[in-house]
């Protein structure tokens, strides 16, 4: 299989489809695994989650290899792999979102006591403006904690920030907003 390292992606994919020889995919892993890991690490800022992302991406790629048309002139294995990795990350976020939706559904329904009154509308608009004025990291942590209702640990997982960073972001944003509404 030493010669396989010199073959291009399309030939390796075709060979894998034909023979289901795992070595073909091992060559593709050697070629793109590190880049994928680096990207996963940049998003998650966490070694284990980046590793999981690479593993899941390759697992799905192998499972759905028949969907990749290596004979097409514009086929790009790296681009296809990145799309899968993107879905892996988004699916993870979606799972959290679904859980959040369930929690919301079990609590009171929307506008149980009628819509916001005029005063509240004005304050709501002010709060929205205040949030957009926050620096993006602070806003993200504040929204995840106060609006979406995630814990510090979950926010650390989502953002890749350390515990101290998450704590600082939330507390700074909260102080800033409370000062405005006092």
């Amino acid at each position: 299989m030493r010669e396989a390292t010199k073959l291009d992606d399309q030939i390796l994919v075709r060979e894998f489809k034909r023979s289901r020889n795992g070595e073909c995919f091992a060559v593709l892993f050697d070629r793109y695994g590190k880049r994928l890991y680096a990207l996963g690490y940049r998003i998650h800022q966490d070694r284990a989650r980046a590793e999981d992302c690479v593993q899941e991406t390759f697992r799905r790629a192998i499972e759905e290899i028949d969907c990749f048309d290596e004979r097409s002139a514009g086929s790009n294995f790296w681009g296809w792999l990145v799309t899968i990795a993107e879905h892996v990350c988004l699916d993870e976020l979606r799972r959290m979102r679904v859980r959040e939706d369930h929690a919301k559904a079990s609590s009171a329904g929307p506008w149980e006591h009628g819509g916001p009154v005029q005063d509240q509308q004005a304050m709501l608009s002010e709060l929205r403006d205040e949030l957009t004025r926050l620096c993006p990291e602070y806003r993200l942590c504040y929204l995840l904690f106060h609006v979406n209702g995630y814990s510090y640990k979950e926010i650390m997982n989502l953002t890749g920030f350390s515990y101290q960073q998450v704590k600082t972001c939330i507390q700074t944003a909260r102080r800033h907003i409370e000062r405005r509404f006092r």
């Binding site: 894998f16 289901r20 795992g22 995919f25 091992a26 050697d30 695994g33 590190k34 880049r35 890991y37 680096a38 990207l39 690490y41 940049r42 998003i43 070694r47 590793e51 593993q55 390759f58 697992r59 192998i62 499972e63 290899i65 681009g79 990145v82 799309t83 990795a85 993107e86 879905h87 990350c89 988004l90 699916d91 976020l93 979606r94 959290m96 979102r97 939706d101 506008w111 916001p116 304050m123 709501l124 709060l127 929205r128 949030l131 957009t132 993200l140 942590c141 929204l143 995840l144 904690f145 609006v147 979406n148 995630y150 926010i155 989502l158 953002t159 907003i177 409370e178 509404f181 006092r182």
Partner: protein, 270 residues
Amino acid sequence: MSDDERNLEELIDLLRRERGSCPESHVLVAYQEGALAPEEAAKIRAHADLCGICQASLQVVEAWQAARRGEEVGEAPDWQIIRGDLRKRVLAFASAGGKPRNAFARFASGLRGLLWRPAVAYIIALILLYPAYRGLFPRQPIEYPKVEGPPVPISAGTAATITLERHDVRGVEARPNVVRPAAGDRYVALQFFVPIRAVPNVEYTARIDGAAGIVVQAGKIVSMDRIGNFQLVVPRERLAFGSYTLIVEEYDRQKNERTATFSFLFEVVE
């Protein structure tokens, strides 16, 4: 909790209700790629401004889009440490043919591995071949043709008995089979021999043809022993003086066909 804090909590609750539910992932991807209509894009932007999870999703989409464009991917800490193990796992999955490793797949794979073991393959082959073996060598007792006495009880002095010799055997000069019933004989007992097959599903019939093809008597016959000696008792009044042919047929019920025919000629004379 102070009043200010309570007011802020209420406001956040209103915010939560107002922003609505999150869009699907593909909509976020389309938004990030600029593929949505302006009104739709404005809605998504308004929602994402108030939703941490959608902001995180958009950051993910942005990061992967940059990767697709070939931008610098950054550092890969500890890659050399985790690479070996990760590669093994990917290789194992690829070698399994990329099939999902659910419980059934694991069972099928295990079974496949087991089938390759010679001892197991031998046992399975034996199990599969057993019905054929039973068919070839039936274990049930052989049903020999039943030994029965003559269908009509005859007492001495009431039947004319004759042992018939076959006329259909090539190269054998058969003696003429002649029966001379006495005046008081009520029956004619025809004794003959045909080589029978002592196997189940084979039965024998006998038919006596008279002149001009008139059937005098016909029916199933059973051997008196396991070799093939038969005795056929015919009422005397059915046999007028003349020539007759006794035809014995072997019939295989399983194959549903006639497998052998034997014939005897005999004459009834005064």
